[in-house]
């Protein structure tokens, strides 16, 4: 399984990258970690004429906290995120979810930007971004634009990036006080893409659920936010209607079935995982166990 011929260039700066994308972007592809792209190249399912390898654009690899946001450069390796004390402390949901991304050998090359830009419907990082209300910073010929997750993920393996643009940075909001998170996933084998995954965040206020976020992966063309369930939970009084919210969330899903799991399975397990994740997030927010 050898890739089709292509030409290759490895820019060293963002400006150089943008210049190359402006010229070659239409028939080219950005190569970051390669863990998603190179299998497609080897199988000749992707046949770009030009590969723009951004692995030498060192300025794109960083993890920085500035105020309420943790800024992660697109080229940051997933392994670096896993090892990062900043992430563990300020974006714990990301720290938990990253451990589900493949295996250590994948994470030593795979990048945060690559995973977000590839937008696999069963991937973990897009769900985390959507759950936390994070942002994506895109740089292109007309400058820089900042997009929300909802604006960025436009469909199955599709994003708002156009061929001359580079995903430069991903921004995650810092977890608030009295906030608990949970990321749960069901996969056929350890390290596989999720059949269903869920990210839950609960913020306590006065001993009750103040705000809640619930996002799924593996059940739609991109990450799916369960807004109805979130509304049901937020400010829901002294009760903890996790099971009810989970059912409502699952009822709003329209997943596809495939050889690994039926649509019904995905919907049912989404409900189960949502309930378990909300429970866990609640406990981690400091709330008592049921």
């Amino acid at each position: 399984m050898k890739p089709a011929p292509f030409r290759y260039v490895a820019p060293r700066s963002v400006d150089e990258t943008l210049a190359l994308l402006a010229e070659h972007g239409a028939e080219g592809k950005i190569l970051a970690g390669g863990q998603s792209l190179v299998p497609l190249l080897n199988m000749r399912l992707a046949r770009p004429q030009v590969i723009v390898d951004i692995n030498r654009v060192k300025s794109l690899a960083y993890i920085r906290r500035r105020g309420d946001l943790v800024h992660i450069g697109a080229l940051t390796r997933q392994a670096a995120v896993e090892a990062s004390a900043v992430v563990r402390r300020y974006v714990p949901l990301l720290g938990e979810a990253i451990r589900f991304v493949g295996h250590p050998q994948i994470r030593s090359r795979g990048t945060v930007g690559g995973s977000i830009a590839h937008a696999d419907p069963s991937a973990e990082l897009p769900a985390v971004l959507a759950a936390l209300g994070g942002q994506v910073v895109v740089r292109g010929p007309s400058g820089e634009r900042v997009l929300s997750a909802g604006e960025f993920f436009t469909g199955y393996l599709t994003t708002a990036l156009d061929s001359a643009e580079l995903l430069a940075e991903v921004r995650f909001p810092v977890a608030g006080g009295r906030t608990g998170h949970a990321f749960l996933e069901v996969a056929r084998r350890h390290g596989d893409f999720a059949l269903v995954g869920v990210a839950a965040v609960i913020q306590r206020a006065d001993g009750k659920i103040g705000a809640a976020r619930l996002t799924f992966t593996g059940v739609g063309p991109g990450p799916v936010r369960a807004t109805e369930a979130e509304a049901l939970l937020s400010g829901s009084g002294p009760g903890r209607p996790f099971a009810e919210a989970a059912r409502a969330a699952a009822a709003g899903l329209d997943p596809d079935g495939d050889i690994h799991a039926s649509a019904q399975y995905r919907r049912e397990v989404a409900s189960t995982l949502a309930r378990r994740a909300l429970d866990l997030a609640w406990q981690r927010s400091g709330g008592a166990a049921r």
Partner: protein, 782 residues
């Protein structure tokens, strides 16, 4: 230094080489001037080929040749050899080297490209244009078996390759009179052996010496040599086939002759340059044989005590598009099914069915998993229906230790020999297994888990495994003046440790260190007679040939040494690489010195030596198979909400007679269990209605990883076989055979509240939840 190597857990002789990256697998073979091959393969399950345009491909720089069927000599243009004929196999259809007129499965090779690199060869594939007339495909097994289904072979009236019945006793009478009859349908779906090394062939032709050398990832190098000689019109002596280090065989690499095994050597001869073809993983999924799909309708007749009066099964076997290897798998299913039980009346009837899918042939287990699945599920059914403990119902039906040899009543095994179990102790194997897994107080333990909200089941499955069949294997042993012992045998090695286990046998016989015994396997140039590594037979058949040859060399050594030491042969001992007079260690001579003395430069050698040197060649041809047995038991936990399962414990008790190297044996068992777990819960080849294989990568065909496979506790029982000098039985497939039955048994137990009854494999979390849902909504069975 221990004087006895047989039975010891010795680290393997071959490991230093393999661990340091100095193994030589087919892709590691480097010959000057090698060209690289790629195949244009059919994208359709069934189609007529109207036109093949190769000009553009030929014109690509770096391409040396593009070959289609019409370029092949007549000898290799038609159907390739039929391997194992059988009277019931009326339509013994085989594959061709390159399809010229019709393609019958996705992946069938149509054109061969030879280029300076594999990269360029694959570029050239994209420049080949083939015009097809797409034909309706027969895909689903039951649909393909029906009259009126699209015919895979146009010269047949339907898709039935064979219809075969094996009987013992009188089932009709038994069923008619039986107080209880239970019926069930069982399905096991397609799977792939998926060794980590795919197939590959490197061929080199020397036109000056007229020698063809082929490195092939085959499990049967000598037979491939013979077929190549025949098909290419070369003397056998001019063809050398080497199966070097092989990265896992598991059965499909015993298939002969894959199209590539013939076209690549021919291309090397034609181009007079070495040609290398290494199958890539996606090719492997369509181009290397599959197995496992069979559908059984089965019924069991029992008396009120659960004693078996009769068993009957009618089944369909999926051949795929061809059946070159023959009927081994369905025959083995039918003859493994009786298992350890006394079944006075038996009827096994199958139809082997063609379909427009990749061909099938034995994969580890080779039909035994199916037989065991059916029988063990039926026994669990009997237990449940009659309210008898499922262990007790088995004990009531076991063949007892004093009843061997046990004749199955006229069934014929895969070797064409009447099925007779040679030895065994099934009650003891069973007792040990149940003891290890804690069956006696399982009810209480299960209830404890239940109170914790956990659904845990205990499953077990028993199997009898026919091993060590003929026709024969051979071995030549030579002691060199260095004192090192060289062993050449014809079976190949794909990880089973022959370089060590065979050396242990020899080291015992000749009193040398096991590390001084160097074994060569799988090279027709080193040893030219043999059958191959398959069906759990190498240790038994080749191992006994090794033992016989070693014994002969030992006798010769004593004979020659007696002359040197001026003693009688009876007074001599072999140990520590020396021959010495018993009780007088000072009167000794090194083994190497004896070898040198046996081949003098001048003078006279005695007639009784029967030739020079310390060398002997012996063959072992077993009269029939030796029957191993075993039982697996496990605790399996189910998360009913997600359908995920987890093994809490896994126990194997195995009886393969005396064990040459327990470490190697346990490795074989553990590896088999992992593949069995794959067959139970992860591995399924999925074809769509057009015959497209949807699972063509490791992302969709899921092999278990370390996280999915439990630690396996292994214990042994030893009932030697009277059929061979070493008394051993095979063990290569033992790990995989009962796993689907075991998992089904455990799941039934874990989900007994819902009345779940597993009758299909493989499962998945999604399917398991579906089964649970169906069981919960179904009316209570009568």
């Amino acid at each position: 230094m221990p004087t006895r190597w047989f039975g010891e857990r010795i680290p393997r002789n071959e490991d230093p080489r393999l661990l340091t990256g100095r193994g030589m697998y087919v892709d590691d073979v480097r010959r000057p001037g090698t060209l690289h091959a790629a195949f244009y393969r059919s994208p359709h399950a069934h189609a007529r080929i109207l036109r093949i345009a190769t000009d553009q491909a030929k014109a690509l720089p770096g391409v040396v040749a593009v070959v289609t069927a019409q370029d092949l000599p007549e000898r290799i243009r038609g159907p390739l050899p039929k391997l194992i004929p059988h009277p019931a196999l009326v339509h013994h259809k085989t594959q061709v080297a390159l399809a010229g007129e019709v393609v019958r499965h996705v992946g069938e090779p149509i054109a061969l490209v030879v280029a300076e690199s594999r990269y360029i060869a694959e570029d050239a594939l994209e420049l080949i244009a083939v015009e097809f007339e797409v034909l309706p495909a027969a895909v689903d097994l039951e649909a393909a078996a029906k009259p009126g289904a699209p015919r895979v072979h146009a010269d047949m009236a339907d898709n039935i390759a064979a219809h075969h019945i094996q009987r013992a006793g009188n089932v009709e009478e038994a069923f008619a009179k039986a107080p209880h009859v239970f019926r069930e349908r069982f399905t096991m779906d397609r799977g792939s052996s998926s060794p980590i090394e795919t197939r590959g062939v490197v061929a080199e032709w020397d036109p000056r010496s007229h020698q063809l050398t082929v490195w092939d990832s085959t499990q049967a190098p000598i037979r491939i040599r013979n077929y190549l000689s025949d098909l290419l019109g070369l003397p056998q002596a001019n063809v050398r086939v080497i199966a070097p280090d092989i990265g896992g065989g598991f059965g499909p690499k015993i298939m002969m002759c894959y199209p590539e095994e013939i076209s690549i050597p021919w291309a090397a001869m034609m181009l007079e340059r070495p040609v290398k073809w290494i199958e890539d993983r996606r090719e492997h999924f369509v181009a290397t044989n599959h197995e496992r799909l069979q559908i059984h309708d089965a019924e069991i007749a029992v008396d009120t005590d659960g004693r078996i009066l009769g068993v009957r099964t009618t089944y369909l076997h999926d051949c795929g598009a061809y059946c070159a290897y023959g009927l081994t798998v369905p025959i083995v299913s039918g003859t493994t099914l009786p298992g350890p039980y006394k079944i006075p009346n038996y009827h096994a009837e199958y139809r082997a069915v063609f379909a427009n899918k990749t061909q099938t042939s034995p994969y580890r287990g080779a039909g035994r998993p199916h037989g065991v699945f059916v029988m063990e599920r039926l026994m669990d059914r009997v237990a449940r229906e009659l309210g008898i403990d499922r262990a007790e119902v088995r004990r009531r039906n076991f063949i007892q230790p004093h009843e061997f040899p046990y004749d199955l009543g006229g069934l014929i095994y895969q070797d064409g020999v009447r099925l007779v179990y040679d030895s065994g102790n099934y009650p003891e194997v069973f007792r040990k297994t149940l003891d290890h897994i804690g069956y006696a107080d399982w009810a209480a333990q299960k209830a404890r888990y239940r109170r914790e909200g956990r659904r845990v089941g205990l499953g077990f499955a028993f199997y009898v495994e026919g091993t060590g069949i003929g026709p024969y294997e051979g071995c030549r042993i030579t002691v060199e003046p260095s004192g090192k012992v060289y062993v050449a045998t014809s079976v190949g090695t794909q990880g089973q440790g022959h370089y060590t286990s065979f050396a242990q046998i020899v080291a015992d016989a000749l009193g040398t260190d096991v590390r001084d015994v160097i074994v060569t396997t799988g090279d027709s140039g080193a040893f030219g007679w043999g059958t191959g590594t398959f069906a759990s037979r190498a240790a038994v058949v080749a191992g006994n040939a090794v033992a016989l040859a070693a014994g002969a060399v030992r006798q010769k050594t004593l004979q020659v040494a007696a002359t040197l030491l001026e003693a009688r042969g009876d007074d001599l001992e072999l140990a520590e690489g020396k021959v010495f007079v018993r009780g007088v260690p000072g009167r000794a001579v090194m083994l190497g010195q004896v070898a040198a003395a046996a081949n003098p430069l001048r003078g006279v050698i005695p007639q009784e030596w029967e030739g020079p040197g310390l060398e002997a060649t012996r063959y072992f041809a077993p009269p029939s198979g030796a029957f191993a047995a075993g039982c697996h038991a496990a605790l399996v936990e189910v998360d009913t909400e997600t359908g995920l399962i987890r093994f809490l414990r896994y126990v194997v008790v195995h009886d393969c007679g005396p064990v040459i190297n327990p470490m190697i044996l346990e490795g074989q068992v553990r590896g088999g269990v992992a593949q069995g777990i794959g067959n139970a819960f992860y591995e399924k080849l999925v074809y769509d209605e057009q015959g497209q294989l949807l699972t063509q990568t490791f992302m969709d065909y899921l092999l278990p990883t370390v996280a999915e496979v439990p630690a396996v506790e292994v214990d042994h029982v030893e009932t030697p076989s009277p059929l061979n000098p070493l008394g051993i039985k095979g063990a290569g497939e033992a790990g995989v055979i009962p796993v689907p039955a075991l998992v089904a048994s455990a799941l039934d137990d874990a989900l007994s509240e819902e009345g779940v009854r597993i009758t299909e494999m493989p499962l998945s979390p999604s399917r398991l939840r579906e089964i649970l849902r169906e069981a919960q909504t179904a009316p209570t069975p009568a």
